[in-house]
Symmetry: C2
Subunit: 300 residues, 2 copies
């Protein structure tokens, strides 16, 4: 089965995601060589010690040599730069994929810069957390979580099939959509929530209210601990969609504000009841998908 | 020690909070009678079976008769109504306290309506969660969490001392401030977060983005499952402070939006870094306070 996915895998960027992919494919029986590429020797050391990779290098060309599957797991703007470099370095027959949180700019770069753009498959495995680095990697990080694949008219079916099988092995729930639709949706359910967490921490601090912050604040502000550089990249790379998501959110929040100001108990109550039901339905569907992953269980 | 707190306790409203106070004081060795007051016989049945209360009644007068400590644990607007009724029903020497999420309107009602307002102590034990009802009650619900006491110039020191000792028994972190300062702060760290969760679920739904919702959305939207009636009460009772908190939040969020639009990588990055550090500091201080309570442990 693995030969229909890859014989040798290069993972460029050994952080939480790259390290977890390495652990995950090993756990699922991948027998080939796993090469890790990272800028810092320390990172390679941790990944080697943890048995995530067989070989480590900080040289991209050396790191992708001989691999038939190359997974770019660096921050978004680094992925775009590395796609430019891979044009000359990667085996033209290798399938190249990425794990970037935004897709339109990455897929566009791949189609402009790669020798063989049909063998690039944009992907976004939606897992992670505040922790980062290879030390935080887990073989089951992806289990039950969604992964979005963003093939275009250029994408070769065989390359798409190999990436699809890779994530099936990692037990992810596979979705396919265009890069732009992906960016519109993640701006609303992933990037916007991060902006909300950040804005809330800022407000709680400037208003001197932190001393009364309890579990509700904890839930909403948790994301604000995400890696600043990674999130700066994401916000700036998906800026148009994030800004439009913020604008839509401002409208939603003003609607709630107006309801509160109006004092219309019935309208406010029925809106809260409707959204509580929606959130419960989402949680139950999600819990069904992710029995084993960090879900809300025990917290509700 | 308990004789310096109460000989007989009436808990009016046997939900998550009322039931947990009953279980908590029993676990901490309170030997006197605990009377539960609830509208629904089913509620009283659950609380009696769970050993939360010794006697149950749906009649307020019967329920507070002979008690020297009366704890109002109903929704905010019900607390205000019951304060009016207690004027005639409660022993003038009884200490009356409440667990309402807002304080100014409740304390004002107490000072206007009670025979002996000096024996009323406004309190807000800050614990709970999405679950509600006596079946969700836990003896350790409050451990390590903050409780805000809101005495005024009218409040008798002896009454304040008894309520303070009650919450010390439940291992809560006691804070004192005016009712208005409490309402300003909770609007920002508790009521606003609830509004954000609700607005996000609404946006995710209307924009058709729920299929990509993952753990980040889960964190930020969890509060939206809170009890609609309870939250309608809170929003409408603390409406002025909630509206001003929403206005301040809109300003914070627009600031982030402007930074993203400006594309100023350095300014955005340093803001995210500063707020990540603030959030970490808050979590570490909080985790230190609440080793045993639901904290972020294991999620970060």
């Amino acid at each position: 089965m693995w030969e229909r996915i890859a014989n040798q895998v290069s993972i460029v960027g050994i952080g939480l995601l790259g390290g977890s992919i390495a652990l995950g494919i090993r756990q699922k029986g991948f027998g080939g060589k796993i090469i890790g590429v990272a800028r810092k020797p320390d990172t390679l050391g941790v990944a080697l010690e943890a048995g995530q990779i067989d070989v480590g290098t900080s040289d991209l060309g050396e790191g992708v040599y001989g691999s038939d599957l190359i997974i770019l797991a660096t921050p978004v703007n680094t992925i775009i730069r590395q796609i430019g470099e891979l044009g000359d370095l990667a085996d033209p027959q290798a399938v190249i994929t990425d794990v970037g949180s935004t897709k339109a700019s990455i897929v566009t770069a791949a189609e402009e810069r790669l020798v063989n753009p049909g063998r690039f498959v944009g992907a976004h495995p939606m897992a992670g957390g505040e922790a980062s680095g290879p030390a935080a990697a887990r073989a089951d990080l992806f289990r039950g979580r969604p992964v979005v694949l963003t093939p275009t008219s250029e994408t070769r079916e065989e390359a798409l099939g190999r990436v699809r099988r890779l994530y099936e092995k990692l037990e992810m729930k596979i979705l396919e959509m265009t890069p732009t639709v992906h960016d519109v949706k993640v701006a609303r359910v992933s990037h916007l929530p991060h902006a909300l967490a950040v804005a809330l921490v800022s407000l709680a601090d400037t208003s001197g209210s932190m001393d009364l912050a309890s579990s509700g604040f904890g839930d909403i502000s948790r994301l604000a601990e995400g890696h600043p550089d990674i999130w700066t990249d994401i916000f700036l790379d998906n800026d148009k969609q994030v800004v439009s998501a913020i604008d839509q959110f401002l409208t939603e929040l003003c609607g709630i504000k107006t309801l509160i100001e109006s004092g219309d108990r019935e309208a406010l109550g029925s809106m809260l009841a409707k959204l509580a039901t929606l959130r419960q339905a989402w949680r139950k569907a999600k819990a069904y998908d992710e029995q084993d992953s960090e879900s809300d269980q025990g917290r509700i």
